[in-house]
């Protein structure tokens, strides 16, 4: 009931605006037209809720990029105005927010989200309105398949799965693998599938696979089954909240081999919840502040002075998403949706802080990824893997 009302409210508002605009020959800025002044950029992020850590980081990165752009005078002689909305990490909110930002606020592009499921909610709205959407860190391939206005600045899960399989073979020397998948998120199911494909294709064997649902707290039953099977490592393509608990319970059950996973692990909470249990575990991600590159060093310093912490991957990608958009608007010479879209699609070797970005024909970013290890409560660079 309430959902329907909130879905309906922005539309009703736009209808009301059109009626008013019809009576008086003035433009009230409704209806999505860019009317000059600041360039309005919409952002939707999980600022609160269960993926709040990601949303906050990503938002800080985006905010920093917009600030830097504005302090350099913006693009096309106009400054940027960032309109940020919180989707509470909830399903159903992103769609409403996208609708509101496009039709009521008239943004020229939309930045967001971290979670693939929420990017997928907003994407059809952006596509329909011909407003480019850049997802900073949704790695599920389906996101950009929604349409030709949907882009991303991060790698996609097939590539991540492949890189992790190579890492398991080369660095962990693993031949038998246990997999524990979160069946409630598209991210986890997708990543698990790509990993399994790549791992078996290179001659490895998946000896046991178990499942859980996001929000579960008890994983001992699944881990007991995993322990009984023969494996050299455990692949957990989940999010940090559960991974911390999984690692703890795995160690409590006497599972000694390394756990590893994807970019969903990336959060300080992983160590807070997991404690000693996550020491010596690995995950792949988009970026490491330890990469020695002038752009990265500058970004890390600027982020530190603004927020007092070292930026994580989500922050770097949030930053890249805004910077790429500004670059595309500059190259397009206009904020017109279709032209910005074309400029985005033509991106080649854009120097992002999370690696050089080339947008491929499927509007995905081709770029290197990094593998990090948890040691002494911190995340440290093990190796970089470049796309083939």
């Amino acid at each position: 009931m309430f959902r329907r009302l909130t879905d309906f409210a922005p539309r009703a508002f736009v209808v009301a605006l059109i009626v008013i605009a019809g009576c008086k020959p003035q433009n009230y800025g409704g209806g999505g037209a860019d009317t000059g002044g600041d360039i309005k950029v919409g952002e939707f992020a999980s600022l609160t809720g269960k993926e709040a850590t990601f949303g906050q980081s990503s938002h800080h990165g985006t905010e920093l990029a917009i600030d830097e752009l504005n302090s350099e005078g913006g693009v096309l002689g106009r400054k940027f105005q960032l309109l940020t909305e919180d989707d509470l990490s909830k399903a159903g909110e992103s769609k409403t927010i996208a609708q509101k930002l496009i039709s009521r606020d008239g943004v020229v592009a939309l930045l967001g989200e971290v979670a693939s499921s929420r990017s997928l909610e907003a994407a059809p709205i952006c596509q329909e309105n011909k407003i480019p959407q850049i997802s900073p860190s949704s790695t599920n391939p389906k996101v950009t398949e929604i349409g030709d206005y949907i882009f991303r600045v991060c790698f996609i899960d097939p590539m991540q799965g492949k890189a992790l399989a190579q890492f398991a073979r080369d660095t962990l020397q693993a031949k038998h693998m246990a997999v524990l998948t979160d069946v409630s998120t598209a991210y986890s199911v997708g990543l698990a599938t790509y990993f399994k494909e790549a791992f078996t294709a290179q001659g490895g064997e998946i000896t046991v696979e178990q499942k859980y649902s996001g929000g579960d707290r008890d994983f001992k039953a699944q881990l007991t089954t995993i322990k009984a099977a023969n494996a050299d490592a455990l692949f957990v393509p989940g999010y940090y909240t559960e991974v911390g608990l999984i690692a703890r319970q795995a160690r409590e059950l006497g599972l000694t081999y390394p756990l590893f996973g994807g970019d969903g692990w990336e959060a300080p909470e992983l160590v807070q919840i997991g404690g000693d249990a996550v020491e010596g575990c690995y995950y792949s991600t988009h970026y490491s502040p330890e990469v020695q590159d002038p752009a990265v060093v500058k970004f890390v310093a600027a982020f530190k002075s603004k927020y007092g912490s070292v930026p994580d991957a989500m922050a770097a990608l949030g930053y890249d998403s805004a910077m790429l958009l500004a670059d595309a608007i500059k190259r397009a010479g206009t904020t017109d949706g279709p032209k910005v879209r074309d400029a985005l699609a033509a991106t080649k070797d854009f120097p992002g802080v999370a690696g050089k970005i080339t947008i491929d024909s499927n509007r995905n970013a081709q770029k290197p990824l990094v593998i990090l290890e948890v040691t002494n409560g911190g995340f440290h660079l093990v190796k970089q893997v470049a796309p083939e």
Partner: protein, 297 residues
């Protein structure tokens, strides 16, 4: 065999906590004939109270941990009494539906007030019980936390049975449960007995919350929803209104979950657990230990 025993340990520790929460549902139902849906949120508040008390009390010892737990139990007992006094007592004698809806309202209130104070980011629960693990019976692992869960649940269960069966206030509780009008005729203060029931049930929920958070040290304002639902099922399974039944139901549910989760059918855990409930209710409509009563017209 080791795997089987390990799943048994896993299931029992999960079930022990379900049992603690189920006791609260069953006691309130036994006396007032209504389901207190806010109970699962008292469980959550218990965990958050423990989280706060642990900040001011040195807790990395058994004594400190127990003190934190006792304080959280007292806090929730008080909360339970206040909820009963403000939300349920004014409606006593009204239709059961009104009280049920109020209970859902209280549940939402507790969740959202906690959300307001602590926000939705999961918090890491401090280690109240010094961690140690033991290997028994050829490879079955059991942790100090699980041992404390078993011990505390057993002690609280026995204490509760003793209170209900051997003390004056327990006798009064049973009297009110049988017939509250007759009970007030013989001089029992119904209000006081009901307050006491809420205090007791909420204290048990708080204990459950602390133990749950010690086993799974990540707490958030919605953490009570799922265990609360499971515990409610456990209470019905065992025969709602029946104290040993609630404990039995909790343990059974924990075991079913653990064994299903460890099998290939882990995705269907809840489906299988609830199917078991339906099956049992078909053959024993009053639950495993409940007595079927014919409604007199």
């Amino acid at each position: 065999m080791t795997v089987f025993l390990q799943q048994l340990v896993n299931g029992l520790s999960l079930g022990a906590i379900y049992a603690l929460i189920a006791l609260g549902y069953t006691m309130v139902y036994g006396i007032l004939r209504f389901i207190n849906f806010a109970h699962s949120d008292v469980f959550m508040v218990g965990a958050f109270a423990g989280y706060c008390f642990a900040r001011v009390i040195p807790h990395a010892s058994i004594g400190g941990g127990l003190l934190v737990m006792l304080l959280a139990m007292c806090f929730c007992a008080l909360l339970g009494v206040v909820i009963e006094r403000l939300a349920y007592r004014p409606l006593r004698g009204d239709s059961n539906l009104a009280i049920l809806i109020t209970a859902i309202g209280v549940s939402l209130l507790l969740e959202n007030v906690t959300l307001l104070i602590f926000d939705a980011t999961p918090k890491t629960f401090p280690t109240l019980i010094p961690y140690k693990d033991f290997s028994i019976l050829g490879g079955v692992r059991i942790t100090s936390v699980e041992l404390v869960v078993f011990a505390v649940t057993a002690i609280l269960l026995i204490a509760l049975q003793w209170i209900v069966l051997k003390t004056r206030v327990g006798t009064a509780m049973r009297a009110v449960s049988f017939n509250h009008q007759a009970a007030s005729l013989v001089g029992i203060n119904n209000d006081r007995v009901i307050s006491f029931t809420f205090a007791l049930g909420s204290a048990l929920a708080a204990a459950g919350g602390i133990l749950w958070a010690s086993l799974y040290p990540s707490i958030d304002p919605y953490m009570g929803v799922v265990p609360g639902l499971k515990a409610f099922v456990a209470a019905v399974l065992g025969g709602i209104g029946n104290i040993p039944g609630a404990a039995l139901g909790g343990l059974m549910l924990g075991l079913i979950e653990s064994f299903v989760n460890g099998s290939r059918f882990s995705t269907y855990t809840d489906a299988i657990a609830f199917a078991a409930l339906i099956l049992i209710l078909i053959f024993r409509p009053a639950g495993l230990l409940g007595k079927f009563q014919v409604e007199k017209v």
